[in-house]
Amino acid sequence: MHLKYLCRMEYIVRFIAGGLVVSLFAVLGDVLRPKSFAGLFGAAPSVALTTLGLAYWKHGGDYVSLEARSMQIGALSLGFYSFVVVQLLMRRQWSAASATGVALSVWLALALGLKQMLLE
């Protein structure tokens, strides 16, 4: 009972902290000009900052270091994901929702594939 309560509390804290940090970066992206600079905030480490902070508090530095190692693969996949989204939008003329949604499968396949190749 007590353990269940703690787990639920942890997820609530995660949700609120994650939401706040993501919103802060989003507001920064909205007020920064030129827009081409603000666009770089599309890959801001907002979720990472919150998650790694909570992981450090719960598990310590070694665990965080392991997460950061895999995050490097996630970031590489994000670069390729962005390239695919641009191609779908400009060459195939898809809508933003379709292009970004379908390209998520590319991100997932690449991230898991690279992790399998490089870390296991």
Binding site: V21, S23, S36, E67, G74, A99
Partner: protein, 150 residues
Amino acid sequence: MVRFQLSGLKEGRWYEYVVRFALGGASTVLAGVIADAFGPETGGLFLAFPAIFCASASLIEKHERQRKRDKGLQGEVRGRQAAALDADGAGWGSVGLLTFAVAVYFSATGLPFFAVAAIAIFSWAAVVALMWLLRRHLRMRWTRKVRMGT
């Protein structure tokens, strides 16, 4: 020059901030659940999961389309171009995210978290600024080349 423009906040609606907050919270919970279930190696991948990007690109497309429609134009192409520009920016920004991850990887084992976060954020900001300058330089060079060719 990079500057702050508070009027940028007026372009968004209140519910868009609610959506971003909810998506940010959900992504953070998801990353935690995956790390708990499959370990930090798999969980770490999802720290660069582009869930929030999907929402922001759609919002940008919607805003640009609306702006053109207010002027009596269709705005489909302009909306797509704006979303593509944002995706291109995220691609360049992913180098900053990679730098952030590398900084955390090397500093997390020996330092308190506030120091780790400060090093990682400063590294990210420096690389992002550098990427923006590089991108601008390449774009200007390309534009000059096209003009000279025509």
